[in-house]
Symmetry: C2
Amino acid sequence: MRVAVLPGDGIGPEITREAVNLLEEIVRLFQRNIEIQYGQIGGAAIDEEGTPLPKATLQLCRTSDAVLLGAVGGPKWDGQPGHLRPEAGLLALRKELGLYANLRPITVFAGLEGASPLKGELLQDVDMVIVRELTGGLYFGTPKERRRSGQEWEAVDTLHYTEAEIERILRLGFEMARQRRRLLTSVDKANVLETSRLWRETAERLALEYPDVTLNHLLVDNAAMQLIKCPSRFDVIVTENMFGDILSDEAAMITGSIGMLPSASLSETGPGLYEPIHGSAPDIAGQNKANPLAMFLSVAMMLRQTAGWAREADAIQSAIESVLAEGWRTEDLGEPGTARLTTSEMGAKV
Amino acid sequence: MRVAVLPGDGIGPEITREAVNLLEEIVRLFQRNIEIQYGQIGGAAIDEEGTPLPKATLQLCRTSDAVLLGAVGGPKWDGQPGHLRPEAGLLALRKELGLYANLRPITVFAGLEGASPLKGELLQDVDMVIVRELTGGLYFGTPKERRRSGQEWEAVDTLHYTEAEIERILRLGFEMARQRRRLLTSVDKANVLETSRLWRETAERLALEYPDVTLNHLLVDNAAMQLIKCPSRFDVIVTENMFGDILSDEAAMITGSIGMLPSASLSETGPGLYEPIHGSAPDIAGQNKANPLAMFLSVAMMLRQTAGWAREADAIQSAIESVLAEGWRTEDLGEPGTARLTTSEMGAKV
Ligand SMILES: CC(C)[C@H](C(=O)O)[C@@H](O)C(=O)O
Ligand SMILES: CC(C)[C@H](C(=O)O)[C@@H](O)C(=O)O
């Protein structure tokens, strides 16, 4: 397997270093052939090459089987115009690779319940996947610009979806629900948005093809409430790009495991991209403090989904579970009885 | 004071009936002159007049000092085209009256902490106001339509803001922060949206005029996390229409007091609109079960803000606090020692 590794910004390089060690361990233990090549993205790429997604990086990703990404962004580049921000590199990569589906499994890790802001009883049986549309909607619609209107400025972003884009992501939601508890919650704002009304109708139409899956609709404001009120009621949630951005971060925080959650971004035929859902955490960058476990779980997802190596993925997951069960923690995870590990110490333990 | 009373749909009429009783009690106790006139809105108006905002209702509101609204919406009208939905009536009313600022105070009521999904210690000192822009953004931008693109449908909504719209709401945020703990959190998605970049720059510019207020920026996905992680850190949150819709419902749920929270929607010079933040709850409509307290607190807000009657508003608030302290609850409020009151019983108690 050829893996394009993009460390990015902030804590990205630190956690990526540990992930590469982990991949090397997989190679050694399971006699696998994994070829790693590095590329630049985000702020690091802006600093060195003047663009957040250099052509060479895109080319590298296109010719790889999978992309492993650390994180992008930081205050250093905040003053830049839109196209010269770190995030623009990630957005362009998603678009160029056609990564239309962002999958975020939301689970609570045994022993980490205490880190959740929610009452313990609400965490029982929390096990959902958020399926977020990733290449449409407000992120990419045009016009997306600032313009002069008489004496003053105005700005516009465009929420645009074709029926085909909506159908593609909803279908993935139905398929995933079928492999799980057969409950699909489609989130929209159909009482206000035209795109949401097309979304909801498309979901209703597809539901006829999936009679074994129960489809529910929730308005996004209500979904933001229900996620807190009763997170265990959800199995698969499918939603558009911006709603997915907001709700998946909310759901992640609820578990108390925000430093533990991986994600996969998939295209129809090309390489998938794997990254932790946490950000670049500039405040702790370079301090060897960051929790590498979400990155490790992203590696596990990559091995399972792209390479089909279930044994290797399981090995990573159970290693992480053992380390947690023994009481080892990085600083972000709060409580336990034992000492706090640095990024590299946690990497070595796993 | 002339009040236009719009009961609306679902539990709207039940809680409005109690609110009118309450207003009559205020008239009696404080020798005030309050003139009440009823208007139709939402699904009820669609059924009787074929439109969710009849001209007569709009005219009534325009010539009143304040508008008191129950709730709109319900599954009965879900199949309708956009302009024939109950919500379209509320949206049109907001636009026509220029109600650009939606204020949602988020507090935890003594004795109701147990109803919160959050751990008790996180609820201490939670006291914020969400200032939501209400007449711009995705709700009203055009084009907002479905159209044919070759063989398939596509749909578009438009997120549009002028600098003046942004400045107006931000300024209100700064002013409110000044009257409170002097901390303003502006929520946007400046790493992706042009409208958010204009928003953030405008906030930075205004901050120079308010050196006594501390301004923070949060990305909306991060805000959705921080609201759960540490709700007490917020004082005033100001944000655009759709983000405000999502975050204010999330914040309300966190307190466990969702049936207790009022809102005010204000214009530059015309009448304000007061309504509970909960919805029309069609599942319990007509059962005399709904909690009227958010509606009562909306009445208190109306008396305070529109009429300037602080004593009357205080009287309502302390009546509610006493009733809760005595252990009286409606069904939604969970736990306590005493019997559950119906809507009308709770109304009578207060
Ligand atoms: C970095 C940012 C552009 C990105 C997004 O909004 O999609 C991030 O928040 C995410 O969720 O992956
Ligand atoms: C009913 C609906 C159109 C409305 C909104 O989205 O603004 C409601 O959710 C609210 O928050 O007042």
